[in-house]
């Protein structure tokens, strides 16, 4: 691909931003523009998540962007962290647009909380009973009446099924999940952006925490935060982000059939992506798996890194437990995972903060720098990027 990530921008992460989502989006976008040293008028594409509160034309106006050649909203939750960038990169590669800004802005703690069900249920005026509608995800008419209301509960179904297939008892599954949680929390201690900095986590504390939706405990679940992130995609060789533009070597979206209205109807709920998608991604990037120096995995809950390690062939099916037990995801490990702390411990910009971290790693500007990082994998429930260090 001829697309590069020319600039990145991110706001502070907090529990209460005190700002509108539009203001957050503009802050992150301006930071990305300054990072790439280009003017707002150069932007000719805007891509965001379907769930973003900031409409594309609204941001275009507030930012002073020019006439747009590309605008799009990507559905299906966190997979849009990579899906937005993949779409922007494809459009730039094809010459449809020249300078595309991908963004996500949310008051995810002080405003609508994705971990709760208020967005799906409304109170009936007559008797105060709660009503669910349509295909709210989760929380639609075929799931909410049974009390299946939040993403963590859906991921708990994946995790329980995974443990069953791999014959992991509760203790072994918990230790594997806990290893993800405490390792990422350790990374977060040296990341100034992380909302959990100063709050380390031990395995005993992890195991002693209350259950949220079995087998997932409190620290298996990501944080909810306010903040925004922006990623600027431009064409290689056109000057934006000169000298430190990160190459988009491969980009893909992936969606299993029967993922709607909820990803519990797919034939195998313990797979987040397909062998086909993974093979094509590495073929497009023209590098082997072993060339990946750091992985940024969408970790709304701790089960995702386990499934992703196996889906991508970094370990054999069932091999995640041993990989994690030997600390291969930690500092100095074979494949460091989420060295910013991830959604679990840095904060939640719906996954877009993982793209920011990947770019910083490849520019060798990260707080927890992986020595010599040349290739990063970013993946969010199937949608994936392979990024390469500046040429």
């Amino acid at each position: 691909m001829r697309a590069v990530i020319a600039g990145i921008g991110m706001t502070e992460l907090s529990m209460d931003s005190g700002r509108s989502e539009l203001a957050l989006a503009v802050m992150a976008a301006r930071a990305a523009l300054a990072d790439a040293d280009i003017e707002p008028g150069s932007i000719d594409g805007l891509v965001t998540y379907s769930s973003d509160a900031v409409g594309i034309a609204r941001l275009q106006r507030a930012l002073g962007a020019g006439e747009l050649r590309l605008f799009a909203e990507v559905p299906y939750g966190g997979s849009a962290a990579c899906g937005t960038v993949a779409l922007a990169a494809a459009a730039v590669d094809a010459g449809m647009a020249r300078c595309v800004l991908c963004y996500r802005a949310l008051n995810g703690r002080s405003g609508t909380r994705l971990g709760r069900a208020e967005r799906h249920l409304s109170a009936e005026p007559s008797d105060g009973a709660f009503v669910c509608r349509g295909d709210g995800v989760p929380g639609g008419v075929f799931t909410a009446p049974a009390g299946l209301l939040a993403p963590v509960q859906v991921m708990a179904l994946w995790a329980q099924r995974y443990a069953h297939i791999q014959r992991l008892d509760e203790e072994r599954l918990s230790r594997a999940l806990g290893s993800v949680a405490i390792t990422q929390r350790r990374y977060a201690q040296t990341n100034p952006r992380a909302v959990t900095r100063g709050v380390p986590l031990s395995m005993d504390e992890y195991l002693g925490a209350r259950m949220i939706a079995s087998p997932l405990r409190l620290y298996d679940v990501c944080r909810e935060t306010d903040g925004a992130a922006a990623i600027l995609i431009a064409r290689d060789g056109e000057g934006a982000g000169a000298g430190r533009a990160v190459r988009v070597q491969a980009a893909a979206q992936q969606l299993f059939a029967y993922s709607e209205p909820l990803p519990i109807y797919t034939p195998d709920i313990t797979r987040l992506t397909s062998e086909r998608a993974v093979d094509e991604l590495f073929a497009a990037a023209a590098i082997p798996r072993e060339a990946i120096d750091v992985a940024l995995i969408y970790d709304a809950t701790t089960i995702a890194p386990l499934l992703t390690l196996e889906d991508f062939g970094f370990v054999t099916r069932g091999g995640a437990e041993e990989f994690l037990a030997s600390g291969q995801h930690g500092p100095g490990g074979r494949l460091p995972i989420n060295p910013h702390g991830g959604l679990l411990s840095e904060g939640y910009v719906h996954g877009m903060n993982a793209v920011v971290e990947a770019v910083e790693q490849l520019r060798h500007e990260a707080h927890n720098q992986i020595a010599g990082a040349a290739h990063a994998l970013v993946t969010a429930r199937g949608a994936s990027l392979i990024l390469g260090a500046p040429a």
Binding site: A117, A129, C132, V141, Q153, H164
Partner: protein, 158 residues
């Protein structure tokens, strides 16, 4: 009858056919008129063969637990009085998966046979499950074999 308050489905079109059936103590699945695959959640078209022709049929009520979670943390005031509660993802004997609570505080396990029942509120039924007892257990095991033999819409992809 449960003392808890229900979460009411505001169902439309095909959703309403399903929920009207539930109020008559039936779980209705669509059966494709061309390829004969059963499907849920309902859809205007068969995802396996594309046929617009289908008939509603009553599920036998037998199934096995495909996965489950026991919810301890209430994510909404509507379920504050429910916790802890077990939510099952059940593979019905006909093939499709259905979500429902496990009744009576029983302990779930993947692969365990279950039998359809209903969460009974004063003016509303919600599909739910009980662990199949001794007699029904044999029926449940039979249900597993049936599910394996009859392809469902989504299994067509395997």
């Amino acid at each position: 009858v449960s003392a808890r308050a229900p979460i009411r489905p505001e169902a439309r079109e095909l959703e309403a056919v399903f929920w009207d059936g539930v109020q008559r103590e039936q779980v209705l699945l669509q059966r494709c008129g061309r390829c004969r695959r059963a499907r849920h959640p309902p859809s205007e078209l068969c995802g396996a063969c594309g046929s617009e022709s289908s008939k509603w049929e009553q599920a036998s009520g037998d199934g096995v637990i495909h996965s489950f979670t026991t919810v301890h943390h209430a994510v909404h005031p509507a379920v504050a009085a429910w916790v802890p509660y077990a939510v099952l993802l059940v593979e019905l004997a006909e093939g499709p998966r259905l979500v429902g609570r496990l009744l009576d505080g029983a302990v779930p396990a993947i692969g365990a046979p279950v039998r359809l029942d209903f969460d009974r509120y004063s003016d509303l039924l919600i599909p739910a499950f009980r662990l199949a007892d001794g007699d029904v257990l044999r029926g449940g095991r039979c249900a597993v074999a049936v599910a394996a033999d009859r392809p469902t819409e989504n299994q067509a992809l395997r």
